[in-house]
Symmetry: C2
Subunit: 741 residues, 2 copies
Amino acid sequence: MDYSTSLLRLIFLALGGALVVLVVHSAFRLPGDIDTTTTSLFDDGSCTRFSPWACRQGRGDPRSKPPTPRRPSHESDVPRHPLDPLTVREVNRARELLRAHPPFSSAPSSLLVHSLELDEPDKPVVKSWRKGAEPLPPRRAVAVVRFRGESHVLAVDLGEGGAVTPLPVPASGYPMMNMDEQTSLSFAPFKDAAFNASLRRRGVRVSDVACLPISLGWYGPAEENRRLIKSQCFSTEGTANFYMRPIEGLTVLVDMDTAEVLHVSDRGAGIPIPAASNTDYRHGHSMPSSQGLGFQKVRAPSMEPPAGAPGFELVDGHTVRWGGWEFHLKPDARAGMVVSRARVQDPATGEHRDVIYKGMASELFVPYMDPTEAWYFKTYMDAGEYGFGLQAMPLVPLNDCPRHARYLDAVFVAADGRPYVRENMICVFERYAGDIAWRHSESPITGMDIRESRPKVTLVARMAASVANYDYIVDWEFQMDGLVRIKVGLSGILMVKGTEYSHMNQVHRNEDMYGTLLSENVIGVIHDHFVTFRLDMDVDGANNSFVKVEMARQNTAAGESPRKSYLKTTRHVARTEKDAQVRLKLYEPSEFHIVNPTKKTRVGNPVGYKVVPAGTAASLLDPEDPPQKRGAFTNNQIWVTPYNKTEEWAGGLFVYQSKGEDTLATWSERDRPIENKDLVVWYTLGFHHVPCQEDFPIMPTVSSSFNLKPVNFFESNPILRQRPTQENDLPVCAAATTTAA
Amino acid sequence: MDYSTSLLRLIFLALGGALVVLVVHSAFRLPGDIDTTTTSLFDDGSCTRFSPWACRQGRGDPRSKPPTPRRPSHESDVPRHPLDPLTVREVNRARELLRAHPPFSSAPSSLLVHSLELDEPDKPVVKSWRKGAEPLPPRRAVAVVRFRGESHVLAVDLGEGGAVTPLPVPASGYPMMNMDEQTSLSFAPFKDAAFNASLRRRGVRVSDVACLPISLGWYGPAEENRRLIKSQCFSTEGTANFYMRPIEGLTVLVDMDTAEVLHVSDRGAGIPIPAASNTDYRHGHSMPSSQGLGFQKVRAPSMEPPAGAPGFELVDGHTVRWGGWEFHLKPDARAGMVVSRARVQDPATGEHRDVIYKGMASELFVPYMDPTEAWYFKTYMDAGEYGFGLQAMPLVPLNDCPRHARYLDAVFVAADGRPYVRENMICVFERYAGDIAWRHSESPITGMDIRESRPKVTLVARMAASVANYDYIVDWEFQMDGLVRIKVGLSGILMVKGTEYSHMNQVHRNEDMYGTLLSENVIGVIHDHFVTFRLDMDVDGANNSFVKVEMARQNTAAGESPRKSYLKTTRHVARTEKDAQVRLKLYEPSEFHIVNPTKKTRVGNPVGYKVVPAGTAASLLDPEDPPQKRGAFTNNQIWVTPYNKTEEWAGGLFVYQSKGEDTLATWSERDRPIENKDLVVWYTLGFHHVPCQEDFPIMPTVSSSFNLKPVNFFESNPILRQRPTQENDLPVCAAATTTAA
């Protein structure tokens, strides 16, 4: 190599380094560095390092300014309910205790916090607690940390005693990534010469490159004993939508603990980076001048409450009361959003009755269907790898949630153990969508002049996680008839693959593209999404049974009836876990009841709630395929396990690079008794996604849901007590322009 | 019998007769009687006979007053679109022509009209018609009438020529019932001595009895060659909800043409009539005094448009324009609601492109699962037997539809051929439900400060049919991303069975109750609902192909990849009808595309729309079971047939007492070619209903839906053109009381 090339390379490296520094706002941090300047309970360095909008100060997109009035600072928050998440003060206390605990105390700046959460008190304690009547149960935290290359799980007593107690550590796998490393590792490739050489070959400037950290799953012993991540990169030149501009086939293997680049694989020679044109999505950018198209004229109506409407109550920061429902609602770094102690008022007695003790997304599984070098490993488990809640950015008022929604903030924990606030992470709103809760008219046949109708009004709790390209919208919707709907919306942007093809007529017959050609040089790769919900049901009490009410054809006996057949139900009470492993079949339908076998209605039916599937999808992967072993909780649509506090995360506690040795599927194989016991129901909502051009350059929201519906729970349906809307129930609004008839 | 008993009986009969007369407001009419006094184009006798609310005058429940300003009279309406339904004038013209046509002219008062509808012009004529550029195509009607015990199908030329032309009559079965006879036949049993004796035995007063006309299906030759109906009765004493008070086991067989009672079957000895208490549902009736329950306090928000919002346009009475969509919307006596010429604006060109030529509910099938004498025959086909549209009563403003909805009236035809108006039969409204059309946020990983979100705004067209106890709500929802959602909601009241049981502990082990004990002496009988939609898709043109995109596991070759498997798609173009008979299987998933094989996107994908199922149910009855033969269109969830104007009603033209010889299933057996042809897609939405106590005494709405979604239809998704809601887009409303934080 000659002198000028060396100089160029030196300049290049210096520029590259400077750019890296610039890009991360002087917040790039190697493991081991800790910012020790603190002027408040918040680490301003943390805030800056993540992004302006992670800060309490609320910097960021002016369009997403929080609703007024400003909420009080969280610095002085105290817990008011046994299930309340750790407060800022509690996080700081836990941090102190951990840093003072051997061996961490020998080098506290090397202690990296991956998870620091409330250790919820035991169920009986929570259920018997009465606000005002007794103090909160002792507050405890559970921490997952890494120290000098080893993982630790610890219980932390936040009270006076301050004990830190080690807990068992899973045999394989690694903890959820923390936000710091997800961000910092994106920059690791830039230090590597081979990587930079690839960029040059591809004709893209370093300053135009953004890289994402991609979990690599587990594919054999070669990748064990080392915490690894793969990085793939995109061109940001000319568009905000860099996802549509992959630098295809370039994969960088990085050691997560040292940020060392271990291997650069470039299989993308000859694959162009797709063009930037027509990919931007930001309102006002890159859109052709208006042609007065119909959809551009649409202006969203607003949901406006009438004068005197009580709406919903948000009490003590996390308790929601509305329409006979009461529940505790909180953010969670891993699960996203947790609904607890959901209880509904009985119309007959006025008393609240237990329905759901705790419900949340427990794990996701998002396998891509391309076995080639740069794609085979993309089999994300977004909760246990990335943190479903950590990925939730502030909701956009008026658009993510309606005008009169109210918002909850989250307190998350940075890698150095310091708390930071994610504002507007959850919204709650009362919804009227123009739907009908119940109606009945009498027809002329009966001659009765009856016109009854009741509007459907519901309450929605929502969060939206942005896991790189994909946005997941999770709604819990509560109805007045006791039904709870859990809905997942997929939105955001596709993960696409670069290709040399610019037209289908170039593709060889029978060639497997692993997806759809969406635009010139862009393939949308086929993939599945599975979201597994953990539903700790306590139907009218903790001890429940799971009953399959199977529907099947019953043939009539000869001469019994002019009918040859009818549908007959048979009840099967699940005795052990294997009785409750359910695969849905349209031609072998069943209802799925969770009943309280000791509580019966007046006429003798057991009270219950049922799981009601709607559209969903099942995983078709080989059960022995490594990702399917890790995601084995998707082998069935429904599972039921006996309540076990440690069985919370369907893929296991340490999902990252796990082998799938400790999943919902492995627990359920124990075939434990589940009759008249405290049960947990697991339901997986699935989506098959075969991309199409409508998903380019952005993917309009696709949703699916399932319901938890009362079955013989109420002697009398609460809907009967609802009143119809009358003229004087309407809000008074300035007249809008109405269109001509 | 002694003198006093005879006198009592006489008095009783006289009273009964008088009450019958009273109950029907002096409108009881035997077949053959025609009211000949006419002072306007409307037969005020018709109005009175049906019910006050069938009248143009809009009598009825003051709470359901139509929205102001009052719509103009329909008397002077003229058709303005080739697909517009027959106007009042046209109905009267058709009536004149039919009454003047031999042999009807010999006894015009004996001519009974069962159906009188527009005979739609041929597709090419409709598609080439341009408003203002040319006159309407010639207007024609098709009539189904009965005259002296025989059915006739006739084409009527409404123009100057006025020709009446006989058309083929189905070999078996009878026409849809007309509203007159549905009402009048309810009273037929009261003339019968055996029936009255049964009532006495049951201890119920004649004046407290309401009877319903129940289609009897076909169960063999014994019931052929005679138009028959079964009547079953209920006690109206003490409640409006007589459905909860069946006079169980009492079935009256009536000749529909003569109103003669042929047979009275009473299998209900010893079965009490369930109590009236706690069954009423009318707001303000029978509810215990308020206990301040949560759900009683809820007040529905209202969807309020911002100032200057264009909303939607309703042009020429039946054309709807909104958000890039344009479609023709009309009521139909049999199908309920018909959406035609649905076209969506292309963002790139601004031109409207064909999507759906005509979509509607084609038939229903609602089999009850009880083979006993009084129940085996309950296998309703609500469109072809009762008229799905005829059963739609006026929608209740503010509750059935939101405040700013607009309404369409229907012009229906009475048995004597005279028109009458059903006001507020369809509503149209713009909806914002707080949902997200699309969103994307960048996470700190990428360091980009992006928060994009667009609210989901849609347009809904709705009707609600009240078929005796059940209310069916049908919504067509149009989204800005080109998706169309068709949703069916089941509401109203269950059809229940009286029983001697008042508690489950009285029921013998293994006894088949055919349903659930809902209250003392009340069983909710298991049943299914199927609604089959006929979707004449014209995706970017009439000639389409049906493509199954099957998803299946593909195993990798040894050594090919660390992955053992992935999901691979295979496209199967349906060549003939049998290729397109689809049963859904969760573990053999597929997409279902309707493509235009001659139109490709820029990168070479065929443009299309896909049918996207969600939750549904399949019929499990024996295919040879008589009701299943009649309802054989439910043998598959999806069918595709070549366009054929006569193949409109999935159960056949004459469904009443049909044998199932002319259904969608029999047509599809012809296995006709369907590749690159004008196609019709049929989709069946199904529900299994195992009743539970929440369905007593009324049934909160349960809904299911399916979507028609663009697939490679748009080069660029219209969603990109949508703008987010901003502060100055909000309506100005007086502040509601807000709750404390």
